[in-house]
Amino acid sequence: MNKLKIKKWNRLRRVFYSCLFVSCSFSLFAQVNQQVTGLVTDENGEPLIGVSISVKGTSSGTVTDTEGRYSLATEQGKTLLFSYLGYAAVEKTVDKPIIDAVLKENTADLGEVIVVGYGTQKKSDLTGSVTSLKASSLEKRPVASIDALLQGKVAGLRITQSSGEPGAGVSVQLRGISSRAGSNSPLYVVDGFPYGDAGNLKQFNINDIESIEVLKDASAASIYGSRGANGVILITTKSGGIDKKPTISASANVGVQQINTSNFAIIKDPFTYALLADEASVNDSRIGVPKYIGGVDSDGFYYPSLTELSEGTWDKTTDWEDLVLRSAIVQNYNISVVGGGKSNAYLFSGSYYQQEGTVIGSGYNNLTARLKFDQIVSPSLKLGSNMSFSYVDRDPALIGYASVYRNPVFPVYNDDGSYYKENPTDFSNPIMVTKEVKNHSDEYDVNMLAYAEWNPVKELSIRGQSGLKYGLSDANQYYPRTTTLGNIHEGEADRNLGSTLFILSDIYGTYKKIFAEVHDFSAMLGFVNEMTQWRGYSMIARGFPSDNITNENMSMGNPQKNEITNGETKEMLNSFIARINYIYDNRYLATFTGRYDGSSKFGDNNKYAFFPSLALGWKLSEENFLKDRTNWLSDLKLRASYGSTGNQAITVYGTMDKISGDINDKYYMGNTLYSGLGITQMGNKGLKWETTTQANIGLDFGVFQNAVTLTADVYDKKSTGLLRQLNLPLSGGIGDQHSASVGKVWINSGEIRNKGVEIGVNAHIISAKDLSWSVNLTAAHNQSVVTDIGEEGESLGLLRSRAFSDGGVYWRNGEPMDLIVGYRNDGIIQEGDVVTYLSGDDAKPGEFKYRNVNDDNQISLAEDGVVLGNAQPNWVGGIGTSLVYKGFDLDIQMNGVTGVKIISSQRFSRGKQINRWTVDNPTDKFPSLRGGRTLKLSDWWIENGDYLRISNITLGYNFKTGNWKDIQNFRIYFSCSNPYVFTKFSGIDPEVSIFDSGSYPKPATFSIGINIQF
């Protein structure tokens, strides 16, 4: 291809993009006073094709031709506005017949166009509710995952990270919970490729992100049909550019993670520990005697006496915190090269992330690479590919941080060097577990996509793409004889392989044309096919001669004890997609979107469903009555949408009754083990989609050239026919004897309604040469109401903690979701109190005094249980601020929730037992210590879970690189993640989901890093 042709292509391309992105209007019938002509070029003198020229205050205008020239009839004294995507607009007064213009490239303006799923749209033309984030606003601070990046940045997106384990997933919810059994996480789509549920996207380099769009309402998300019910998060990666000099960016970050244990309440003093343990034993009617008596217990284990401990003659004590927790290193390196030749563009990037866990034995490494390449084959055809690879190498946490609470009286090792056990079945010595157990997993992910884009005529573009994503996970475990499993089985080796193949093929055409100057019309029609195939293999071998080889040679185990299982599922989705956009006079906007979706997972008569949506917009700021009167108003738009999306998140084969059997279902035919087979699932041929219909009204408001913008949305979202598994009764005769689990059937039943308000504010308060300051704020209120539980009737217990014998999280018809139901607590039973409705040990002084609401002779949840609170937050939000002064930049991010209740299961953990009730300390605040106490959930355990977290503070300095050779940009920064949480919660971290059951704590990370650009 010769140079001329490339130039011609470039021009054509520009024409094409100008049609795509720029809506313009011109008139053939304007009043003719003067003919104006001219040439529009860029700063290098290259003609620009398709620049729109409009006459301000009128509806007339034109565009430049392939030579960059234009011709226009207008009146003397009018103002011409030259605008072109990616360039700053220029105004010229009509004072001569030839008016040339030079447009300057304006990268900031690119933000005007956003990705909407199977296409792009000008942000100002959007009718749906979409939050768009650009890389430039995100990349200053180092984060470990895309979820952490989004936390607090998008109104309505609630991200809860309850575990601090390296590589742990998070919970991501958009606009509340709308499904019971299906996913409640938005769909991640990376460069047009559905990646799956948000919350655990590891195979991805954050530095590759160019922009993130969050599609929130039905109008925006219904193009993803059956996968869009929880919203869609579109991630677009960076690309090279035609004729772009190679730019090399590199960054490095090294940090240290620290756990603040000041509120852990660890008892390190062995005497106190033993004293409390003895008190619990003595008060335990099953035991009744102390353990620390300076003698052996019934299992033959020696327990020192309290005197030995207090006098210090017992010297085998251990500080577990010191052994179990550590300062852990986290490091992250990235490099990327972007650029392009005359007819191609490329990006290459690579990253390496390494994180040690703050609890010994855990760690996470991630290596990624991406190659993107686009080639212009002919003026009308472009081909490209996008390939990425990732490798995750993970040591999952074998022990929880709870190991810091292990009995400090006893040592790590026996005198002979073997691991100390507290009793015959104690296999939880954390040093033993982390040293002896092998637990390692590798995950490999490859993603390849090829596309072709064809523009046969100016108005029409057809894009087809096909790609695959293949993921392989390989988990390795070996449990030696020092562990529970290994002890039972004389060593157990596990190997689990899982592979997921996803193949995507889609093709869609987009037609755009402006009719009669004011009717801006575009239509998209396409077809999508997705196939997902999962295969899993699990091998277990047991009975090894020794523990030395671990699982490296599983044939060394006893073949009689081998266990091999496998599985495979395949699902298919066929979808027809369509979208029509219509804009009248750049003021009135309408979008129709529809997806006709078919899934293999549903019954024969319910395979297909249609998900339509309609949205309308009105750009008030373009109306003359506002435009002429205000110069401060830059944007005012009202939006309204209504439509439906679906959720198909049931397991494959859910409609079928299932006859199967597993390794545990074998019995004897004579001397031969014969596989048993029978009904394991009740079928439901009528199973269909779960449908969410959503109405959304929104407002976009911007003043002073959009220096301050506000976006507000209210929505009402109703999910019906909730897909879920209904438990069959125990007596149904369908279930699994080995796990004692009861059979289930998939049904559509129940209704949930989510209503809410979202507000997002961006303010560039100061934008001076040396000083700029901006603030962004998001706040969202959502209320999920269970309008109909369905089959189970009026009330349904959803969650119970093992810690409590009754009470838990309930759904009730017509009530907000996730009600915490339990007893009222009236303090502690004191000496002399007569409590007739409690019996046995529960009625003794020092016990919880539950309120007997109906004043009968007993307490029961049905009669005395009350709603103690709601686990759903009232408001979720975030605040971010960015300050730049000369070379310095300071970025602070905070996020928080209000109005949330937590079941604080750790409220009477050992460290907090010092304040216990005793005869000498008849407190009303804490109960006595008694082993074997059956706890009922009461308001004593409920705590306010409001918090405001400083998620990150980053201070950077950009060196003046003007005189530096090769280096364009050099920044050094100090960053601090999760340094402090403002909260009244007494537990370790209020960012938990309902139960504070003691998860892996989140560390504070202090890091330094550099960014260099060559």
Partner: protein, 511 residues
């Protein structure tokens, strides 16, 4: 590239996409009702599936074992056992939080549910008629076995006699005890008796097993009526049912055509779980260390702990080496003490001596000895039950659970007969084997007096064989037992409360 070529490329892509578009779902790795229960192999697979819950982890290996033994004087527990198990031990079961009774309830319904499916499908399968009849008989037997245990443990329960294959069947109310006997247990066992032959099929039921179980059921009805057990008022006449029990048991004791089953004088032969040759074993289920699913935990739960990990049992128990257990369930020493020193069963059913690393650990009347020297750190902390001991225990243990034993039927016969020469003769057969002096009819004032002795004999002879709790319940003997052995009685000790989960998910049930 020419436009035409480009166009062709797009057509190609479209065809490629459309070609892989069928939404038909093809099952992978499982059958469904459309393609199963057609061949003999399918029938066998279905039958295996119906048997396997009984000896499984949650079945007799653990939960079912707790549910029908802890409440009696046979077992108590170590202090840190689960609170649900302690609740059973203290006779204060609670339907809302008792895992053991929940799992037992589920397991038994898995047996009846799977049997229902077999009863529906086996008659249509083309295969050898005799074998088909026998398998159908087994299905009836299993359904009766399930309901007979359910009705004795829980009383009124939902009676389901067909496969749950539609939403309209999910809700099911509680059936009166009478209905459960009249619609399932008795007709099913009669059907099973008629359909099955008396041949031994390893670990499976047969005609004699059906007769033995039916005799036991009649005896239960008779004595429950006599004792006034709640819910059994429907039984017209205790004497009538004693007679029915006698007739049915007689089929086993005095068969018209001789069977392979009979009396065995060698306790070790009967109770060595690795042996299946004793003629006493009429029906037993097998679990083996070779497999995961039917692996036995009962042995681990009842076997002593020692940190050296293996111990030797004395020669009288087989003299083998065994892997250590969890010493989770403890034999109640007062119960052990009720055995007469002359009773051979005291030595046969209980072990009080272990050899660990060459040292002999002994328990003697509460004192521990190591190599004859009193030592509180000795391992044999109490007598332990040899009926669960597995000579091949190497960590994973196998076991078999004897569910219908000749001696049990013999004692049923003895009890059904009342104080008569034939009854006392049967009872004396058991006593003589134990080395105890025989009874004569004149030793007893009346039938009730005599039957008390038989029930006590059952307590000794059939200890740890899942009979004692049922015997205590049918004779309303819980109070006397509790008083005698110092067990507590709080609630739900004649019928366990149905698990709360059943109320949660069975729309047919109302509190």
């Amino acid at each position: 590239m020419k436009a035409k070529n480009i166009f062709n490329l797009f057509i190609f892509v479209v065809i490629l996409s459309l070609s892989s578009c069928s939404l038909e779902e093809v099952p992978y790795g499982f059958y469904n009702s459309g393609n199963f229960f057609q061949t003999e192999e399918d029938a066998i697979a279905g039958l295996m599936y119906a048997y396997v819950p009984i000896p499984s982890y949650r079945g007799l290996s653990q939960s079912f074992l707790y549910a029908n033994s802890l409440s009696s004087e046979e077992f108590t527990l170590k202090s840190d056992a689960g609170s649900d198990q302690h609740d059973l031990d203290r006779n204060q079961q609670d339907g809302s939080n008792n895992t053991a009774t929940r799992e037992t309830f589920l397991i038994l319904y898995l047996v009846t549910g799977r049997a229902n499916t077999l009863i529906e499908h086996i008659p249509d399968i083309k295969m050898d008629e005799n074998e088909r009849n026998h398998m159908l008989g087994e299905a009836y037997f299993l359904r009766a076995y399930g309901y007979y245990n359910l009705v004795r443990l829980f009383g009124k329960v939902p009676l389901r006699l067909q496969t749950l294959d539609g939403f309209e069947l999910v809700g099911k109310e509680l059936s009166p005890i009478q209905e459960i006997y009249e619609k399932s247990i008795i007709p099913d066992l009669i059907e099973a008796e008629n359909l099955m032959d008396a041949n031994i099929r390893r670990g499976r039921a047969n005609k004699v097993a059906a007769q033995g179980l039916l005799a036991n059921a009649y005896l239960f009805l008779a004595s429950a009526k006599e004792s006034g057990l709640e819910g059994y008022e429907f039984v017209p006449d205790a004497a009538l049912y004693y007679e029915k029990a006698k007739v049915e048991a007689a089929k086993v004791i005095h068969p018209e055509t001789s069977t392979v089953f009979g009396f065995d004088n060698d306790y070790l032969n009967i109770f060595n779980v690795e042996k299946e040759t004793s003629p006493e074993l009429i029906f037993y289920t097998i679990s083996s260390l070779a497999t995961v699913g039917v692996k036995n935990l009962a042995s681990t739960l009842t076997t002593p702990y020692c940190s050296e990990q293996t111990f030797m049992v004395p020669a009288q128990h087989g003299g083998f080496s065994s892997y250590y257990g969890w010493e989770h369930m403890w034999v109640e020493v007062p119960f052990y003490n009720t055995f007469d020193d002359a009773d051979k069963r005291k030595k046969a059913f209980f072990c009080t001596e272990l050899t660990v690393a060459g040292k002999v650990h002994t328990w003697d009347n509460g004192t521990l000895y190591v190599d004859g020297v009193p030592n509180s750190a000795g391992y044999c902390k109490r007598p332990f039950a040899t009926k669960f001991l597995d000579s091949n225990n190497d960590g994973d243990t196998g076991n078999r659970y004897t569910l219908v034993r000749y001696s049990e039927v013999l004692l049923t016969y003895a009890e059904a007969c009342g104080n008569s020469s034939e009854g006392v003769a049967a009872l004396n057969q058991i006593r003589t084997r134990a080395g105890l002096s025989p009874y004569s009819t004149s030793d007893f004032a009346n039938d009730a007096d005599y039957r008390k002795a038989v029930v006590q004999e059952r307590a000794w002879e059939l200890c740890f064989e899942f009979q004692r709790v049922y015997d205590l319940r049918r004779t309303k003997g819980m109070e006397a037992m509790a008083a005698k052995y110092g067990k507590t009685l709080v609630k739900n000790y004649y019928f366990y409360e149905i698990p709360q989960e059943e109320y949660d998910y069975n729309p047919g049930l109302k509190r």
